[in-house]
Subunit: 368 residues, 2 copies
């Protein structure tokens, strides 16, 4: 499976028009495109433009409602609960996070929760938004059930990522991780490569550890038992209950705090939204006194971590967000790696939307 390198401005223009073609307005299309492209620029291919086809399908099946507008159903100076009315997750997430940022600037901190949404892209997009505004940003989302909690053999919890960002030099602290040991996308990569899974990644319908990516993925789809394990695997002695606990915090702060659906009650029916829930916490560092001092001390601490003695002199020590910041610059300059299958899907999409794919790219850019 080959990759082509597409220039960021070309891909951005294409996505903008594609989402406008789906019926979103200019600003909505800009937001959705920006979320997808940040994932690609950060090297998180699973959440980038390769998801275009899945969003298209969701819109066709009316699981994602293009004309839905997020509605504030409850509000205080430090909080809001938003009903997404089954709209596009990125549009709802951006609206909710922007509201959290405004409230945090006024009140010092704010907590906005969302129910009845759909997949909103990388959680770290929203924490980065707050971080870019000089604030501490936290975002979480639940998802369909894929994770099997300690001692169970049935997936009840979602992938449930937790993202956290805070300004620092030369790179912000930018953490974004599923509370499962690996994301679903990793199993898909292993399946394509026909590689056995690591022990502690997944269990089958019977509750036994499986090294078959295909079987684990079938388990997730069939919902008859089996799935991915929490961070810490399936044994308490390796901290399984801790990954399970972080996943629970995510469910509580997303679904319980929004009056929405926990991951095990998400919907996969045409005509109905998934029921995904998100949360957005924004903290203005001013509430602790001196934001510049905080930024400086975090920068010093992260440098100490990078300068620590290495396990192996050949191996570099990273801080969270460093790899992403490096990839961002590199891909802005040299282009985004896009799978040839994704290019094919973009071509099909152009056919449906009466767009001309080639017109967005230089001659030869779409060829390997």
């Amino acid at each position: 499976m080959g990759y082509v390198k597409l220039q960021e401005p070309h891909l951005r223009a294409f996505c903008q028009d594609a989402f406008e073609g789906f019926g979103f307005d200019r600003e909505e299309a800009r937001i959705i495109t920006d979320v997808l492209l940040l994932a690609d620029l950060y090297g998180i291919e699973s959440h980038g433009v390769q998801r275009l086809v899945r969003y298209h399908q969701g819109i066709m099946k009316k699981s994602i409602r293009v004309d839905a507008k997020p509605e504030i159903v409850f509000e205080t100076p430090v909080s809001a609960v938003i009903d997404g009315h089954s709209g596009m997750g990125q549009v709802i997430g951006y609206f909710a996070n922007q509201l959290a940022i405004e409230k945090a600037k006024a009140a010092g901190m704010a907590f906005v929760t969302v129910r009845n949404s759909n997949h909103y892209g990388i959680a770290g997009y929203y924490s980065k938004m707050a971080c870019d505004a000089g604030l501490i940003g936290i975002s979480m989302t639940n998802s369909e059930s894929i994770a099997v909690h300690t001692n169970a053999r049935q997936a009840v919890l979602g992938s449930n990522p937790i993202a956290f960002a805070m300004p620092a030099d030369p790179y912000p602290f930018w953490f974004d991780a599923a509370t499962t040991v690996v994301p679903r996308g990793k199993l898909e990569v292993y399946k394509k490569a026909d590689k056995p899974l690591q022990e502690g990644w997944a269990i089958d319908e019977e509750g036994h550890v499986t090294d078959s990516a295909d079987r684990a993925l079938q388990c997730i789809i069939n919902k008859n038992g089996g799935g991915i394990l929490p961070l810490g695997g399936n044994r308490e002695e390796m901290g399984s209950h801790k990954g399970y606990g972080f996943s629970m915090i995510c469910e509580i702060l997303c679904a319980i705090a929004s009056g929405g659906a926990t991951s095990n009650h998400h919907v996969r029916k045409p005509g109905e939204g998934a029921g995904t829930c998100h949360s957005f916490v924004v903290i203005d560092p001013k509430i602790f006194g001196n934001p510049q001092e905080m930024k400086d001390s975090l920068s010093v601490f992260m440098q100490e971590l990078r300068d620590a003695k290495r396990a192996d002199e050949q191996v570099q020590i990273y801080t969270h967000g460093e790899k992403e910041a490096i990839r961002y610059q590199e891909k802005l300059k040299n282009g985004i790696d896009v799978n040839e299958n994704t290019v094919k899907e973009m071509q099909d999409l152009c056919h449906d939307l009466s767009m001309d794919l080639a017109s967005y790219f230089d001659e030869g850019e779409l060829l390997k």
Copy 2:
């Protein structure tokens, strides 16, 4: 090594007098005792009365200052930064958490950070305090460096527990976990039992995985490399960077947000406080609309998790805080298991404080 069963009211009366004997006032001694006994009642022996001797040593070495009073050095309606002035961690923690609870009741949510404190007991004591008041409670602390981050062979991060509690029936959701794969106490247990460590728990000075509890503990003491691994072990493919990330969130919200010391700058010198930093976040569920509905929906969800298909029909599925709630009732009724070594330390303490240990307990209660 044997255990005796001591009745909770007897042990409580003894601890109260012992801490008053150290120089704390009645209310301070009540708080410290309550934090220690909750750990014992929850079955977390490492953080219970067995720590008496360590606190005593800290006071003797003037690392813990008995007469210090926590001082609010910065404050907003939703926040405060507290300088602990090297006082007793439990006294400072209680003060800070109580302030967070009061501010959250007034403003909807609040965030209080603490610098220059000492060991404050179980993080979950403070989240439980908020939970008992019908609120969502979060608490974190850093500690001396014991954890080796991904690709390093030097402990920079602390054990860095994160605790989260929210009301539910029949048990609250009560999560309290170090962000390391295992706590230091587990290594001590393995050392005493001469058992090999699991792979993925610890590495040695050279950065290699070690199965020797003794060697790993020496590494932590000597500070020349080696230590306990983050949740997820030392390989990114098992999520090492995720445990490392959660530990970083703890450092940021405790040390960076209080202007205090990150774990690698903690002090272990006579006459100086450790420099431990804590944070306390309290959220009033009213800011999301209906607290009773939230409690009910969390209770339903936790029951669904307990009722999920089991990996093995013989194994029970637990929710977080369930085991602790069961142990609490059992130990209140039947007594707290206290190690004979701890009883010996209590006897020595009585000698120093001119107390009569036997006078607190029934005849034979102190004998196995």
